[in-house]
């Protein structure tokens, strides 16, 4: 018997009434056959597996997009460690991921929990908070580009209040990445807020009522009930933030195009620049394979290390 079963009083009750455990389980249903999975599997094969295989092949060739790729063995792969921009872009990607997570998770958690409550002006304010979710990425990026214009944008008038009198946010090596992370977060906080709001609404009210009787204040309730109950949502949202930041590039392309220099050039953007601006498809494929590997490894790592893959529910009685 698992530890969990031993510690769980409910299981004890079952043995007392002498009902066999197997009978308690839901009736064993025949699993859906492969036919059920076929549409998704075919789709995934054509648009997921096949391209990855082709990219893997291309990474051993030299090809500028014209004519036929020429097999060059491991030349492209050997160029990778010497590409300082690539190494730098991995570092930038990591930093961007961390910034995005640090900004988005607390903000959307608090907003989501707040939006799940019964306050009077909640509906109106929530609607306002969700507005960025309705705008297209390109529109958001171009709007922020104008807002961050150092001479005529908001950056010009408000910059001096945050210690940047010349409004130089996107053009400064050290500030550009923060600016980009802020814009991305502005765009995606509403989505994660929505996740947290839905999850917070699922927390049984009884828990809070009991806590209240025990004299727990709001803060205590938040730390001891809300946060643990939202554990899986935090993980799910974090996976989305981390994997999302890893492949994110549209906003950066439009905001800074990876600049100044390579200060905000994340790995996907570096791949794009090599492949679709420089038309060095072979080397860009190396970067693509690298991205696939890192992305997969990272999501497996998060899911494994947090126990998310067991899909345990923390809800009472579930």
């Amino acid at each position: 018997m698992s530890e969990r079963g031993l510690l769980n009083p409910r299981r004890e009750v079952r043995t007392v009434v002498l009902v066999q455990a197997s009978q308690l389980r839901p009736a064993r249903r025949e699993r859906p056959g492969f036919l059920w999975a076929a549409p998704a599997a075919v789709f995934f094969t054509i648009f997921g597996i096949v391209p990855i295989a082709v990219v893997l092949y291309l990474s051993f060739t030299t090809w500028n997009g014209l004519g036929t790729p020429e097999w060059t063995g491991t030349t492209n792969w050997r160029a990778l460690p010497e590409d300082t921009d690539a190494l730098h872009s991995i570092w930038v990607t990591a930093k961007l991921t961390i910034f995005c997570w640090l900004i988005q998770t607390p903000l959307s958690l608090l907003l989501g929990v707040w939006a799940a409550g019964p306050q009077r002006n909640r509906a109106i304010l929530s609607t306002l908070f969700f507005l960025p979710l309705l705008l297209s990425t390109a529109a958001i990026a171009l709007t922020w580009l104008s807002l961050l214009d150092p001479n005529f944008g908001l950056a010009a008038s408000l910059g001096s209040y945050v210690g940047v009198p010349d409004g130089n946010f996107l053009g400064d090596d050290s500030r550009a990445l923060y600016a980009v992370a802020a814009v991305i977060s502005w765009q995606f906080v509403p989505f994660h807020t929505l996740l947290y709001q839905a999850a917070a609404r699922q927390i049984p009210v009884a828990m809070y009522e009991v806590a209240e009787m025990d004299g727990a204040r709001t803060m205590r309730q938040f730390i001891s009930i809300t946060l643990p109950q939202l554990r899986n949502t935090i993980i799910a949202s974090s996976v989305l933030v981390v994997v999302g930041s890893l492949t994110y590039f549209e906003s950066i392309l439009l905001l800074t195009n990876g600049g100044p220099g390579t200060a905000t050039r994340v790995l996907p953007l570096h791949m794009y620049v090599k492949g679709f601006v420089g038309f060095d498809m072979g080397y860009a494929s190396v970067l693509a394979v690298l991205l696939v590997a890192v992305g997969t490894a990272l999501s497996v790592l998060i899911v494994r290390s947090t126990g998310y893959h067991r899909m345990n529910s923390d809800r009472e009685g579930m």
Partner: protein, 433 residues
């Protein structure tokens, strides 16, 4: 064993389904567009499109094969063209920038050499300005013909700001440096520079290298001659670029300024910046974005300053000589498409339409036609600048191969921000080419 058997089953059925879908897909993905017309690809451009359309209309009235214009937005065009060339959906005639970009297609044997067709029509060959025609020439073959106006890089200056400060536009590099100091004292950004886009910084390097060492230095780089980047003239030009930036010529926040959202143009038009080095298209852009600025007569222009002791002819010009039309080798209409280009691009009607759209065609002896137009003064200036230039160096990012060009623009941004030294720039570029 059962799960394994099931997995096998699933795998087999997946493969079957996938191959069926793929086979079905291939059946329909063939040439969908009708191939009985000459497809002409160009950029979406309100100034140019009507001109091309009129030209095609003229051609269609007397040709058994009709030509039709398909346009694309600028940003996606290079990718779109690259992907479709060599596929069954390739265009018959395509817009391009000449130089290194066109050379990639030529190397892949995807472009038709127009030399023979031109040899049969010397009047057409001689109609174009030689320096502009040269950019469409790749290894002794003429692969592209100019299809729109010349776009040299011009030093614009704000007459109002200069008058208020009692200063005159620069004639030499040292003039420019003292102007930078003078305007800084007056709290005016000396030169507007949209440094978030590397190609705007490239203009300084292009002109400086030409002034210091003449056009051959870049020819060596374009020919990928080993050590060409290590030329002392290149190093000197790079140092001067960095010195200019470090002197504060562009203000402190130039790397945040964008050209595409007209941030730099506005900075200049509002008099917050005194000068602006930009392609001649900036005139049209100011005319539509800040019409008062142009109508007040505040927009001035001059040539890039000379450099003392430089070997280059001070009349030399850099910029975009023009854009080009080329014929795709895979086209079923190579002969008709060639006729279309030869007959249209230097015809009186086409040249007149170009002039009327506000452009300066790359055609010899067009001054008379420019005279009566609304912006005759600027048009004549650019025409004479180019017509008198012993050499017209194409923008480096267009002349070099895309791989090297991209690398160069990235390093140039770093150079202007003093993230790297001129020496490091040289080494990085020597490695990249």
């Amino acid at each position: 064993m059962r799960p394994r058997a099931r997995l096998f089953h699933t795998g087999v059925s997946l493969l079957v389904t996938a191959s069926l879908v793929l086979a079905g897909g291939c059946g329909t993905a063939g040439p969908g567009a009708s191939r009985d017309r000459i497809q002409v690809w160009a950029l979406q451009d309100p100034q140019n499109e009507p001109v091309i359309r009129a030209g095609l209309g003229e051609f269609n009235s007397g040709s058994p094969v009709r030509a039709e214009l398909v346009t694309y937005v600028n940003d996606a065009y290079k990718q779109k063209l690259h992907v479709s060339m060599g596929s069954p959906n390739a265009p018959d005639v395509f817009f391009n920038w000449g130089g290194g970009n066109l050379a990639e297609f030529v190397t892949a044997n995807q472009v038709v050499d127009l030399s023979h067709a031109l040899a049969a029509r010397p009047d057409v060959r001689d109609a174009f300005l030689p320096s502009v025609l040269a950019v469409g020439r790749i290894s002794n073959g003429q692969y592209g013909l100019p299809m729109n106006g010349i776009q040299p890089v011009v030093l614009f200056y704000h007459k109002g700001v200069f008058a208020k400060a009692g200063l005159a536009p620069p004639k030499t590099w040292s003039d420019l440096l003292s102007l930078v100091d003078a305007f800084k004292e007056r709290k005016v950004t000396p030169i507007a520079l949209p440094g978030s886009q590397g190609w705007t910084e490239l203009m300084y390097l292009e002109y400086l290298l030409d002034r210091i060492g003449g056009p051959d230095r870049f020819s060596a780089i374009a020919a990928q001659r080993s050590g060409a980047w290590r030329d002392p003239a290149v190093l000197r030009a790079l140092q001067m670029c960095q010195e200019l930036a470090e002197r504060g010529a562009f203000g402190t926040n130039f790397a945040s300024i964008n050209y595409d959202n007209t941030g730099a143009s506005k900075l200049f038009a509002t008099g917050k910046a005194a000068m602006f080095l930009m392609g001649s298209w900036e005139y049209t852009s100011q005319l539509s974005n800040n019409p008062d600025f142009v109508k007040r007569g505040d927009l001035g222009w001059t040539t890039f300053p000379t450099v003392d002791g430089g070997l280059g002819d001070q009349a030399n010009v850099v910029g975009n000589p023009a854009n080009y039309f080329s014929v795709a080798a895979s086209s079923p209409h190579v002969r008709d498409a060639t006729t279309l280009l030869i007959d249209t691009l230097s015809s009186d009607a086409y040249v007149r339409d170009l002039v009327n759209s506000g452009q300066v065609p790359a055609v010899a002896g067009v001054e008379a036609k420019l005279a009566g137009t609304p912006n005759a003064e600027f048009a004549t200036f650019t025409y004479e600048m180019v017509a008198k230039a012993p050499s017209f160096t194409q923008s480096w990012d267009q002349a070099l191969s895309p791989t090297v060009g991209t690398e160069m623009l990235t390093n140039l941004q770093k150079l202007f921000l003093s993230d790297i030294s001129p020496e490091e720039f040289v080494e990085a570029m020597e490695k990249a080419s």
